[in-house]
């Protein structure tokens, strides 16, 4: 049996998934930043 990772993913699968994870996470942070800008514009909390 070849060297298997703890998760069972191969290096290539892990790298491929991580690329999508980074993209989705970047979009999430972008949306959250936008939402915070709207809140700051509407009602600054500091």
């Amino acid at each position: 049996m070849a060297e298997q990772s703890l998760s069972g993913l191969t290096e290539q699968q892990a790298k491929e998934f991580h690329e999508q994870f980074k993209t989705t996470y970047t979009a999430f942070v972008g949306l959250a930043a936008l939402a915070h800008l709207f809140v700051i514009a509407a009602k600054p909390w500091f």
Partner: protein, 52 residues
Amino acid sequence: MSDVKKPSNPEDDWKIWLVVNPATWLMPIFYALLVLAIAVHWVVFSVGLGWH
């Protein structure tokens, strides 16, 4: 244990998926994020900073 090479991030970030299988853990991660977001909104509203 001390001879384990230290990761250098963010280049080695992808290796987390060699330990954590997203087919199993991606949804639990999303639910934890949802719970965190609800908790933060709850606190913000409870300290009176919400729209009401």
